[in-house]
Symmetry: C2
Subunit: 101 residues, 2 copies
């Protein structure tokens, strides 16, 4: 099982993920992606879903038209693990290819 990151390790990892922030009230990280339209937003979700399924580690996410709010945590570990950092990095890479900084 992936190990829960310490507060320090989590803060360190977030330095390389500028769009992401700690969620208030729970041990998780989150980012809101804003795309041009629904086509781009759902295209992002589809590519991210394939990564999530391959890694067997899934996001919590909410989509309203062109926005996708993502929350990542590892339930089994009770916090944020390397699996979440990897998924965050993969999502950033996909969004960047679609044209979101």
């Amino acid at each position: 099982m992936a190990e829960r990151l310490s507060v320090e390790a989590r803060k360190q990892a977030l330095k390389s993920l500028p769009g992401w922030a700690e969620m208030s009230g729970r041990e998780a990280i989150g980012r809101t992606f804003t795309f041009k339209d629904f086509n781009e937003a759902f295209g992002f979700m589809t590519r991210a879903a394939l990564v999530a399924e391959k890694n067997d580690h899934h996001p919590e996410w909410r989509n309203v038209y062109k926005t996708v709010e993502v929350v990542l945590a590892t339930h089994d570990a009770g916090g944020v693990t390397a699996l979440d950092i990897e998924l965050a990095e993969a999502m950033d890479a996909i969004a960047s290819q679609i044209g979101v900084a």
Copy 2:
């Protein structure tokens, strides 16, 4: 523009959509779909996204692993319209094909 349904018309429409209910605190209808796993849940979302995009009428939805919480409203109309009822029916049909009653 699609016309906002009256309270009576909305209640009448919901009789044919047994899984759906009025949202509290806002004029919208909602349903939570529970699938077998993420594959089924995201498969449902993908098919529903194609319908939404074709109709140019999109859901608000949240996915956590095998569950998909959907809220439907027509923002321009300030409430529920025939577009929402059509999308709800389409989502029910897709979920039913996947095996969700």
